[in-house]
Symmetry: C2
Subunit: 194 residues, 2 copies
DNA sequence: CCAACATACGGAACCGCGTTCCGCTTTGGC
DNA sequence: GCCAAAGCGGAACGCGGTTCCGTATGTTGG
């Protein structure tokens, strides 16, 4: 068993998470590390002892929400009338999450080495869920297009990038288009357009 | 009439464009300005006298290709059997262009002030063309989904971001999905899937 | 309660990047 | 050949992530 961390260290870690979360809200996920340190009233060194890289901090801040999103998957599969509906709702959740975090989607697709972790966390948690929902929809015959869970997730993530602050661009609409497109062309299907 | 530029200046501008193009190919669009200067055998100052910002240099390097893409639009409208086919082909061109330029799509969606120009050039040249094709497809009754040219262009661009170097992610497939999705669900339609 | 040691802290320093600035060089019209 | 004007090189600046290390502080055995 590793020895307990010092009390002040644990306190600082908490403070940092809160400071980061709050700064992310106001200045976006791209906020300078120094700003977060300042907000938390600590030195930058302290950040880096707790979170080896910027990306780790971001991961830590959003871990709970990502988990929540992941856990919602199976629930939706039970509640919604069809697997495709569940998939669609779940993707809505994902999109809501991304779109409300200024700059998150953008940073998610940066292949900067330091952000691998971020990408990694999202994949690790969400990919299995996405796969489950997608599989269900496929075996239910609701999806007639070849697509991998990974591709779907990335596609949706990409569509969400830079979606804030541009009233001409509505990520949700495009994602909906994509998800609807998944079912391929079905004869006699009634698709509400508005 | 503005006075002629000095001979060495014109020569340098050319050299710079070539150097930049070549560096972009090997190191991606994100290559450091210093690398480009070194490759061209000039100082960084020279770059900035010719191209006020990084983005302007990128714009200059790709202007011809963007123009070519823009000009292909009306052509396709004449050649292809239907407006939707023309739109689809045109978007293929656009995607090809983006995907083969390492990092371009990513930089295109960065809302960094300095990249506004880039975004701007693309929009200025391509938006009208996209609008024309989209309009044609709409009035031909081939598209039953509300979408603006801007949104389409951005969506496609976004889907292309980070597409290189990830064999699990095929931007073309997703774009195709999106474009197919534009027609909405049509009864008895024959959509070639492969 | 008090050393004495490990642990954690602050923030200066470092590196890479875009961009700016300025003293020097080159060009081209006379 | 002369000399503005135009252009050039690259040092210097600001900013952001990350590292380092001298100092402070929590912890623990006496």
């Amino acid at each position: 068993m590793p020895p307990q961390k010092r009390a002040d260290a644990r306190r600082n870690e908490q403070t940092l998470l809160e400071a980061a979360a709050s700064v992310f809200v106001t200045s976006g996920v791209d906020a300078p590390v120094r700003d977060i340190a300042a907000r938390a009233g600590v030195g930058v060194g302290t950040i880096y002892r707790h979170f080896p890289t910027r990306a780790d901090l971001i991961v830590a801040v959003y871990r709970h929400q990502v988990d929540a999103c992941a856990e919602a998957g199976p629930e939706l599969l039970k509640q919604e009338p069809t697997p495709h509906a569940a998939l669609s709702r779940w993707i809505d959740l994902f999109v809501d999450f991304l779109v409300t975090k200024h700059g998150l989607a953008a940073v998610l697709q940066s292949d900067n080495a330091s952000f691998r972790n971020l990408h990694g966390l999202f994949l690790e948690r969400l990919l299995p869920v996405c796969a489950e929902l997608l599989d269900a929809a496929v075996t239910a015959g609701e999806i007639r297009v070849e697509i991998s869970p990974y591709e779907l997730l990335r596609g949706v993530g990409n569509l969400c990038a830079g979606a804030e602050g541009d009233e001409r661009y509505d990520a949700r609409r495009l994602v909906k288009l994509l998800v609807t497109g998944l079912r391929g062309t079905q004869p006699g299907d009634v698709t509400p357009v508005a």
